[in-house]
Symmetry: C2
DNA sequence: AATATAGGTTTAATCGTTTAAACAAAAAAT
DNA sequence: ATTTTTTGTTTAAACGATTAAACCTATATT
């Protein structure tokens, strides 16, 4: 049934010429290589007839270029990242690259695994949404001079190419927004993480309070562990509310935290925004479904993904390309959950 | 900085032997090939020292096996599919396979593109969450004898391997559930689609009514177009409610439909489940966030993904492997949105 | 007429592996 | 002391493509 794969040789045989000619013609080098017009036509015809599909492996082996990039995603089950993956794959393909995606599931060890599998596969470069404790992997890539671009998350202490949003500003904006709307005791729930973007989100929050002369109460900031998210978010909220200076608004540093937090807020029969104002990072349909649409920081997903590909491709085409770092703005989408206090 | 890649040849040189020996040793064939014990150790040591990483391209070219499978996903931005992708990638890697993922975005043409790119890349087989109108692609693969497994969606008129849930039964269960809870005028919003799983969901719904001797009112079933989902879902709901036999419950045939529908139901200030009982296919955090947790059909995501890989790998290892078709059960997770009428 | 140039095609090396087959030397069997 | 067997190693072809170089032949230039 399935006839064997057609190779250059098969075409050459049918046409009664050497494989060299076939290669020249099929790669559009008939001019430079002065292939006879007749024979060129014949070769093309036969190639079409046999439905010739070049073997990418052979091409790559010979040329040293695989036109493949590795995409390591911290958590593919997160819709934000899944969307990024979709964009990256699409954009890369339009640039002639194929993407191999792996989800590290926020686990540095798995990330190493993936990195090695992909390197074995001769990927030319990486786009990485890094997980925590993966610094060594980044250093490794740097040392080996393997091109890569960090996406969404980067490390302040390692000089690399990256594309992220300005997390400090985004968080700062969120804080200022709530303050302007009349909220005073603003809490933040973030992940306990060494990752720079998370620290920036916290820093932005703190500066918003500071710049507004609101005295920060240490009980307002909660850092929960990824692996205990459900339990610890609950505890965080309990604690924030039980304090002598209970919060009247919460900023969630990620979409996942918000989901957990809002669920618990429902359980407690607290009303948003009457009892608690809410702003969250990330976006997802879930926020639209909440009885009170959530104010959130919208990240330019498409732009982030496309730019990451663009930078990487630029670097692959030109190894001399200098460091490229892009910061984008997140946009605060204001909705019901942060309604002005005086309107409540 | 980055020293050139280490090849078998380099190791052979250092050890003062031929590449053949190195290959034997590094592939654990020292026994069969009677390699000297001493030299074997030496080779291993050098390989480790130089941190030798085999070139997968060369291996594949020579052996004809790429240990790569293509995963074509109808819509990677859908969390359900993103999760499937994550599972498939993980499971495949544990079986020694690498996955190249592409999102067809419910577009048959893009799906063709992907298919060809992946075939060029010499993938050994496919796992496909098919989009509509992709029958020709399936026939193509069959004709070419290229192994593949359809996942989540399959075509009733094409004999293929597949792994899906029993959509008829799931939908039937949802219908019966609502009827038992006292709802009488049950509507369904589905996609207008030739895809078998969608037809099955509709069929299950209709049979649930029939078997319960509830007369089906043609205004209760709405099929909306994917590309006009927002507008048409609204129109569907309006129409269902305006009818002389207005619905008191709705089954959404997919997660995406539910999101849109629930948003609109909020806009209309209708209360779930008092005004409208709800059951939906699919799962996502969004459902938990709704003021009234949504009753939904939970699909065994992990099982689906793993089984698809399993079937494909089995087929790759043994081309004689006969047709494999697996139907799994979706589980109805009962929550507030379908509360018994008499308890309201 | 001898030489240079252009036109058209083939040869052969190469990329990094694998592996059947050939080869050589030592050990065992005659 | 031969022959056979075993053990250890190398050779070389193959996978499917690319491409510099070599090679013809015919025409143009001197």
């Amino acid at each position: 049934m399935s006839k064997k794969k057609i190779s250059l040789k098969d075409i050459a045989q049918q046409a009664g010429v050497s494989t060299a000619l076939v290669s020249y013609v099929l790669n559009g080098k008939e001019k430079e290589s002065r292939v006879g017009h007749e024979i060129a036509l014949k070769i093309k015809k036969i190639a079409k007839e046999l439905n010739y599909q070049p073997n990418h492996l052979a091409k790559s082996l010979r040329s040293g270029k695989t036109y493949t990039i590795g995409l390591i995603i911290a958590d593919l089950s997160n819709p934000f990242f899944a969307n990024i993956a979709r964009i990256v794959e699409d954009e890369a393909r339009h640039n002639g690259y194929t993407v191999i995606i792996g989800s590290s599931d926020e686990n540095a060890e798995k990330s190493w695994d993936l990195l090695n599998v992909l390197l074995n596969r001769q990927v030319e470069g990486f786009i990485i949404v890094s997980s925590e404790n993966a610094e060594n992997q980044i250093y490794y890539l740097k040392e080996k001079n393997i091109p890569f671009v960090l996406l969404d998350r980067h490390f302040s202490e390692i000089q690399t190419d990256f594309v992220t949003i300005n997390n400090f500003k985004a968080s700062y904006d969120a804080g200022i927004h709530l303050l302007q709307r009349g909220y005073r005791n603003i809490g933040m729930i973030a992940y306990k993480s060494q990752l720079f973007h998370m620290k920036e989100r916290i820093r932005g929050y703190l500066y918003a309070l500071k710049d507004s002369n609101v005295h920060f109460h240490k009980n307002w900031l909660k850092e929960v562990r990824f692996n205990y998210i459900e339990k610890e978010v609950k505890a965080a909220i309990d604690s924030m509310l039980a304090s002598d200076l209970p919060v009247d608004a919460i900023i969630f540093a990620t979409y996942g935290l918000a989901i957990n937090g809002l669920k618990y807020i429902n359980e407690l029969h607290l009303k948003v925004p009457t009892d608690l104002g809410i702003v969250s990072f990330g976006q997802a349909e879930g926020f639209d479904l909440y009885y009170c649409p959530i104010t959130y920081l919208k990240q330019p997903i498409e732009d982030l993904g496309k730019t990451a590909v663009e930078l990487l491709v630029k670097k692959l085409k030109n190894p001399e390309q200098g460091m490229q770092q892009v910061l984008m703005e997140a946009k605060l989408i204001v909705r019901e959950s942060s309604k002005a206090k005086h309107e409540l």
